[in-house]
Symmetry: C2
Subunit: 282 residues, 2 copies
């Protein structure tokens, strides 16, 4: 299951960008990173042994996230991207405090993009139960503009629908309508897709909302924020070779990996299996 | 969060029946046990910090189940019920081998009830991805009667629908039809609800299937199997007092606990929080 050393890498192998997610939904962030930063190497870690984080408590999500970032630091990552909205919402301050390298979440970039997109100041946010309950998007949006009207809603059926591969069709359309109709009734003109899985439902959500409501994709905005961070910290990889991509999971991949690869149009190659280490015993 | 000592318990406190599940779906088994064995004490342990098991690998489910049973043995349980179909399907031989007290899963009792119920020998089984992939129900059914025709299907949307509280309504009806139509087309006359959550969808599933197809509820049959085991091993609690019920979870309960309590018509009282111990380090 070990990844092959990448023969195209520069002699002093470049330090990768570490990306972690509760599962493989964060590959949407990897896909966006590959497009705008093709020569960066990426080490992706998905905690599929404990997925999903979205229905779990803040304490548990913080503990799991701490264990994931420790594993990424062992890979000598030069920066860590918390691609999971739930982990970003609940654990970012703790992760920033303990990491010796810069840590970047998806909430702040998503909030900034939403503020740029809205014209009427009414923004909707959708995500997992834990993300919505945390109020993290509301806080980030109101820090940027206290006058915004924010309506948030948990959509816990979206991830299982996506993992089932039902990205469109009548059932998915009805679930989308059930969750989003109240947000439309509130008069939002911008909707933040506050979960890394949700871009895979972009088409069906867009069909329901129509062109008048802008969709803010946390994956794309997060990738842009990584680019700015690499600029600011002078951390860009040298050379023009395509960066190496390694994917590791804490439980072997299931059928959803194929759904994700097909939907994202990229190959991830061999997947490594890693056991979670529990460094701090109770 | 500690449970109150039960003042109604007999002086020499009776050893409880231990019940574990990946989450709180196994409360359907507890509900069935309370009805037929009201004077038994029960200690229920739900691994909500790592729920669901249904999409995870056999190795991971076996490891988690081993950790859960160790926690139940610390509670001095006189027998352990593996209320989770996924854990029963993937980990029962290992749990039986390591436990000093009898261990009972839900697969065998469900299979026996299905064999009693069928008239045409065509049985359908629904469950999580991991349960169906394991083939455990097929094996148990064919051991009882090699001539049976068995059709199995994973229904990964059912658990999230139930946890969302959408036990009926148009979306749930459509998902039920999507999953079950092929089984009906096969000509089954009996359907095993091979996941402890599924009895909460019994009404909607029954409405779709009609009276000609018998539903086998793994929770009820498991409770009956526990009663037979207590008979056979002379393990029944003495006295006529109502048994004590303690519920412990590895992550604090969320909204689904209320859905389950309302649907099952029973109160579980204060919930204890337990941290998973990792006895065997890699």
């Amino acid at each position: 299951m070990e990844a092959e050393p990448n023969p195209a890498a520069s002699p002093a192998r470049t330090r990768p960008i570490g990306v972690f997610d509760s599962g493989i939904g964060g590959l949407t962030v990897v896909s966006a990173l590959r497009k705008i930063l093709p020569n960066e190497s990426i080490f992706y870690l998905g905690d599929t042994a404990r997925v999903p984080y979205g229905g779990k408590s803040a304490a548990t999500v913080e503990r799991y996230s701490t264990e994931m970032i420790a594993m990424l630091l062992e890979e000598d990552c030069k920066t860590v991207v918390v691609a999971c909205n739930t982990a970003s919402a609940l654990a970012l301050p703790r992760l920033e405090a303990l990491s010796p390298v810069p840590v970047l979440g998806v909430i702040r970039p998503g909030a900034e993009a939403a503020v740029s997109a809205t014209r009427n100041g009414q923004i909707g946010v959708i995500g997992t139960r834990a993300t919505i309950k945390s109020g993290a998007y509301e806080r980030a949006l109101r820090e940027l503009d206290p006058a915004l009207l924010v309506t948030a809603r948990a959509c816990p059926l979206f991830v299982p629908l996506i993992e089932e591969g039902w990205l469109d069709g009548e059932i998915t359309e009805r679930v989308v309508r059930q969750y989003l109709e109240p947000l439309v009734a509130e008069g939002i003109d911008t909707l933040v897709l506050g979960c890394t899985h949700y871009p895979l439902l972009r088409q069906t959500i867009g069909n329901f909302l129509g062109d008048a409501i802008a969709l803010v994709d946390s994956a794309q905005n997060c990738a842009r924020a990584v680019m700015h961070l690499l600029d600011a910290e002078a951390l860009h990889a040298g050379g023009n070779e395509t960066g190496h991509l390694a994917v590791a999971l804490t439980d072997p991949p299931d059928a959803f990996l194929e759904v994700a690869q097909a939907a994202l149009h990229f190959e991830i190659g061999a997947v490594q299996l890693r056991q979670v280490l529990h460094p701090s015993k109770p």
